[in-house]
């Protein structure tokens, strides 16, 4: 009998589970800590100041232009740690696999996880696999937890934006959301738009190495896009934020797709971008540092923090008008009007 799909037996804890772990998980991700296969991983840190996060990945489709759920879960977890000024160290993975899932696809996904692990030095040290009956899952769900060591001297936090600060985005916005929805709905865009999914550790390290005292906020604009991200900052810091529409870096293909679907690029998800709020005197240096890195080559100043209208974000529009930017109400929906 061919062993090409996941069956309930793979989650049963018996021989098949063991084989799956050895042949797939350890083959891709093996390291001295994970190889113990003990009930939990024992790790140690050089500093007591840790960042700890958890996240779940339910993306549909599992494979999309520019990445897959494996790359996404690693980068997403790493970025959550990086946004707190931490150096990401260890990740735990919980997989919920739907019966009938192709082992070849699982192999590809573990390959993507391993690639991110190799590039970033972040180790997968613990994990779990469960299999659910056909029809009870979307192929694969992944839950992660991540732990990192906070850099010394970091004061960045979502409530630390101050009037006079400058708002930077590290690259083009909306790429991930449009790439995923394009694949999901079978919309064929003429350009090869790809998700921006990437680990931001090396990019943000460059900023921290030189400007650690000047960075007030780091935030990754994932679901809800840059709009939700800057609104979060304005609300938590109780400051106003003014964005300048003509400064927003947006790819032509994203702008076009948003126009067609009635989306606002500000509301579309990103998976490899950060919003950086820093003091005005450090802004130019921050931009030139970011632009030395491939992930930051389109970094731009997109606005500033103001003392007026605390908690609210305004956008100076391209035609010279002004509008309020709000947290999107729910899922981004294609409009007919």
């Amino acid at each position: 009998m061919k062993n090409d799909i996941i069956t309930l037996a793979h989650g049963g804890g018996g021989i098949r589970t063991r084989n799956l772990i050895k042949e797939l998980v350890l083959a891709h991700l093996g390291n001295p800590i994970l190889n113990q296969l003990d009930d939990s991983a024992v790790v140690s840190f050089e500093s007591p100041d840790l960042a700890f996060t958890t996240d779940s990945y339910v993306v549909n489709p599992l494979f999309f232009p520019g990445g897959d759920i494996g790359k996404l879960c690693m980068c997403g977890t790493i970025n959550d740690l990086v946004m707190q000024g931490a150096i990401p160290k260890y990740i735990g993975l919980g997989l919920i696999i739907e019966e009938g899932f192709a082992i070849a696809d699982l192999d590809k996904i573990f390959g993507s996880i391993a690639a991110v692990s190799r590039e970033t030095g972040v180790l997968v040290v613990t994990g779990d696999t469960k299999v659910v009956e056909k029809g009870r899952g979307n192929g694969l769900y992944i839950n992660t937890s991540g732990i990192g060591v906070r850099r010394p001297g970091v004061s960045a936090g979502i409530s630390n934006a101050k009037p006079g600060n400058v708002v930077i985005v590290t690259g083009t916005i909306g790429d991930h959301g449009i790439a995923v929805i394009g694949k999901r709905q079978g919309l064929s865009f003429e350009s090869d738009l790809e998700s921006d999914v990437a680990s931001l550790d090396s990019l943000i390290s460059l900023l921290f190495n030189e400007l650690v005292a000047s960075i007030n906020v780091l935030h990754d604009p994932t679901r809800g896009g840059v709009a939700a991200g800057v609104c979060d900052i304005a609300e938590s810091s109780n400051v106003g934020i003014e964005l300048v529409e003509s400064h927003l870096p947006i790819k032509k293909a994203v702008k076009g797709a948003c126009g067609l679907l009635g989306f606002d690029p500000l509301n579309v998800a990103n998976e490899g971008k950060a919003i950086v709020v820093c003091s005005a005197d450090a802004a130019e240096r921050a931009i030139s540092i970011l632009r030395t890195h491939t992930l930051g080559k389109n970094a731009r100043i997109i606005g500033s923090v103001v003392p007026d209208h605390p908690g609210m974000v305004l956008l100076k529009t391209a035609m010279g008008g002004e509008r309020i930017v709000e947290v999107p109400a729910g899922e981004e929906l294609p409009r007919i009007c």
Partner: protein
Amino acid sequence: MKCAVLNLARQDMVRMNKRIEQVYALFAEAKQPLKFMEVCGTHTMAAFRSGLRSLLPERLSLISGPGCPVCVTANDSINKAIAIAGCPDTIVATFGDMIKVPGSTTSLERVRAQGGHVHVVYSPLDALDLARKNPDKRVVFLGVGFETTVPGVAWTIKNSAETGVANFSVLCMHKTMPAAMAALVSAGPIDINGFLCPGHVSVVIGSNAYAFLAEKHKVPCVVAGFEPMDMVGAIEMLLRQIVEGRSSVEIEYSRSVTPEGNLAAQRIIQEVFEPCDAMWRGVGRIPGSGLKIRREYAAFDAELIFSDIAIESDDENPACICGKILRGVKTPYDCALFARQCTPSEPVGACMVSSEGTCAAYYAYAKKRGA
């Protein structure tokens, strides 16, 4: 699924500034506060996204009309769609923004969360495709929209008849624009000095459809495109009519709109649909303002196919004054429900359902002023 992409090159900025200056000069000449209604939801959207309102003279206001088809869909239509979504072996296929619109007690979004079969599609053809792929299910497309979307739905119904797709039907909630504008101006006092007539609808129906507004009701009309420059140009043309004491129908969006419109599209609408009365959320019943599927295509009429299902009955909330807000005679602050029972997350009336509706905009700006 059509929104103006707001891009302005530098030379356009210069032209825009000149146009805005023109608007201020003409407004000064008009010597009175003015209210223009942008009838179409896409204009509302474009005005919102470009911040157009903030560039106009303070006493020249743009009010949003009943032209967002999703927002004006009445409770009983939504209730019907919800009831259909609960039927066995049935899939409701809909444009995305419909799923948030509240019915009497729930919405399609909530029904979907509770296991109802609600699919978001991007075109009626996607719904027909869904029917072909699921021959054991009944696929019901929610036909929403004005004359812009109607020809596509008409074509889809014809196509399913010709190709024998028996499990596809349309719950027809289509409405027509001129009848709604007629109802607005004849339903009581209005305080609207000019209409920015919808661009896409007019591509289909032609600008002649608005002649009665200018001739009988003496309200200036300009058909506008959807770029910010189009809208400012149309406002300038409306002001010019007022300053010159005229009321006529003019076309700013001349690259797409003709006085007669698209005759082929008009023919297919007439072939598949016929006029009927329709309920408008926040406005009430408007005679002749809706479309229903003709008897020849009865096999595709979800209204008939699902005529025996139980539907939650409901009237519009009597305290809602959307109708008066739409006519420009009241503001959201005059409404007892505003910001209390009626908020963007729990909207009651049409003007709050759309994030760019008049009430939703007031709600957001009230927050800005700290009110």
